[in-house]
């Protein structure tokens, strides 16, 4: 598959991973087989890492609290930040870990059932790690846009119905 078609394929899947292969082939102007092969290649190469669903948990009965935690750490000889990052991302409640440039080192997204559990995680698990120097926890109050998608979107076609 040509590079530009591959890029287009990825950008379609990034927005709609549930699109069926037949439709994907049609809109890309490729054969179904080509598309299938390319996707399995992308999965093998770990370019496509996973297929997720964006859920607005606020509208469910399930309680969830999300926090962004800025973490300052001491990098370790020979391993830089990788080792401490691994120590942190192995916790299943940790949703993401990014190495960040600027005033702190790691940005950790944490999802728990309650504020209390987040506090417990930060004080018992995160802060007690040897290389962690300090943490700053920010709670998410409301999500407006996530992964490029508006959370409470109401789109209405405001165009006139017939325009020459």
């Amino acid at each position: 598959m040509k590079d530009n078609m591959r890029d287009e394929l990825l950008s379609i899947l990034e927005h709609n991973s549930r699109i069926d292969f037949k439709e994907l082939a049609v809109v890309l102007g490729a054969s179904e087989e080509e598309v299938l092969n390319e996707i399995s290649k992308l999965e093998k190469e770990n370019i496509i890492c996973a297929y997720h669903t964006l859920i607005n948990w606020e509208k469910t009965d399930i309680e969830k609290v999300t926090a962004l935690i800025e973490v300052k750490v001491t990098p370790q000889r020979g391993q830089g930040f990788d080792h401490i990052a691994e120590r942190i991302y192995n916790y299943p409640e940790v949703k993401s870990v990014y190495l960040i440039s600027g005033g702190y080192d790691l940005l950790v997204t944490l999802e728990e059932k309650s504020l209390k559990e987040i506090a417990a995680f930060v004080s018992d698990k995160l802060s007690t790690l040897d290389s962690v120097l300090s943490t700053a926890t920010h709670f998410i109050l409301k999500k407006y846009k996530d992964h490029g998608t508006l959370i409470n979107k109401t789109t209405k076609d405001e165009r006139e119905v017939i325009i020459p």
Partner: protein, 392 residues
């Protein structure tokens, strides 16, 4: 009381689309595929620039021909896409949409009785604008078997001693047809030989799906014989900002500027500031939208193929132009019935010229989800028609 109306205006045929618009408007829940404007919002950075210009209090008239930086950017844009240079001070005029440029361009050129050649099917305003300018419109009926491209023999047979201007509407609304370099070369040869001028409406130039658009102005000896019209509506999804431009020989732009100055003053200032930003930083956004249109175009072509509906493959704009002659109905009848029975609104081809009888304009400036539902309904509709005709 006497009749105060101008004969010339009263004599204009009302747009064929108007009637259909009224019918569709009454049906609240129809899916419309009848819209000739992008479904995307203007990219945010462009809107933001418009807002910023308002905050800065840039609310005055601009110079008649448009903001100097905008004319410069337009000139740069044409240089980088077509390889030709226009002097931003003398050969570029910023207008209220491409439509104004068509109107004042014709008014600047026409003496009473001059003939303007208009290939159809094409956009609805060429013929009335030509008539209002005092010209005699000469229509060329383009043919589906030529993929609605203008052929040299068609042009030759329309030329008379009074012919002055050829309107060249490509990429085309409503057919989606394009003209490729070899098509244009042949037309350009005739234009030079017969000493004519081209008004090239290239408003859809950014939306092509084969090779990049080529302007006839970029061919040998054609820049001096072309008024190139373009704008921001389609490429940047900026229809409501009403901003277009004309580039051409200094003498013509000067006369057009005169009309523009007296009739309009200047194009909207906020839109002009936003447009500078669009031309400077908009290429990626345009490409994103173009890709998205192309996906929908492929989706529709495939849907037609599956329902066995004849349609040539269009490579421009955001329209497909399927043929419905097999159903023995006029375009208008077909469109009306489709609307009443399946609640899908499409535009009868005849709105864009009599020769488009038997065709429909379907716009793909809609999400694939929308198009999917519409195609299901059209499929159901034509399957019904085919079954009926078999049974009768």
């Amino acid at each position: 009381m006497r009749n105060f109306l101008s004969d010339r205006v009263a004599g204009l045929k009302p747009s064929g689309i108007r009637k259909f618009f009224d019918i569709v408007s009454e049906m609240g829940d129809a899916i419309s595929l009848g819209v000739g404007e992008p479904d995307f919002d203007t990219p945010w950075f462009i809107r933001d620039e418009g807002i910023y210009s308002l905050e800065k209090g840039r609310t005055f008239y601009t110079s008649n021909s448009g903001l100097k930086p905008l004319r410069q950017e337009i000139s740069n844009y044409i240089k980088r896409t077509q390889g030709i240079s226009y002097n931003p001070d003398k050969e570029v005029l910023v207008t209220v949409g491409g439509s104004e440029a068509i109107d004042i361009g014709l008014r600047a050129l026409i003496n009473y009785g001059d003939e303007v050649i208009i290939p159809q099917p094409s956009y609805v305003s060429y013929e009335p604008c030509a008539i209002l300018a005092g010209a005699k419109p000469v229509i060329i009926n383009l043919k589906a078997e030529n993929e609605f491209r203008l052929k040299p023999e068609e042009l030759l047979s329309a030329i008379t001693d009074r012919t002055k201007v050829l309107i060249l509407p490509y990429p085309n609304n409503p057919t989606g047809a394009i003209m490729e370099k070899e098509d244009l070369e042949k037309i350009a040869g005739i234009i030079r030989e017969k000493d004519l001028l081209v008004m090239s409406d290239e408003i859809y130039s950014a939306l092509t799906y084969k090779d990049k658009h080529i302007s006839i102005a970029s061919l040998d000896g054609m820049q001096e014989r072309t008024i190139l019209i373009n704008g921001f509506s389609k490429a940047y999804a900026m229809t409501g900002w009403r901003l277009g431009y004309a580039c051409g020989p200094e003498e013509i732009i000067k006369q057009m500027t005169k009309i523009h100055q007296f009739a309009i003053m200047c194009a909207p200032t906020t839109s002009q500031y936003a447009a500078v930003e669009a031309l400077k930083k908009g290429d990626d956004e345009v490409e994103k939208m173009r890709k998205s249109y192309n996906q929908r175009r492929r989706f529709l072509m495939n849907a037609f193929k599956e329902m066995n509906l004849e349609c040539f493959e269009p490579y421009g704009a955001f329209y497909v132009f399927p043929c419905i002659k097999e159903f023995n109905m006029s375009s208008e009848e077909f469109a009306t019935k489709l609307l009443q029975e399946e609640k899908v609104a499409v535009v009868p081809g005849t709105a864009f010229g009599d020769c488009a009888e038997g065709y429909l304009r379907i716009s793909y400036a809609y999400s694939i989800e929308n198009l999917k539902i519409a195609m299901e309904r059209i499929k159901k509709f034509i399957t019904g028609l085919r079954n009926n005709s078999q049974n009768s």
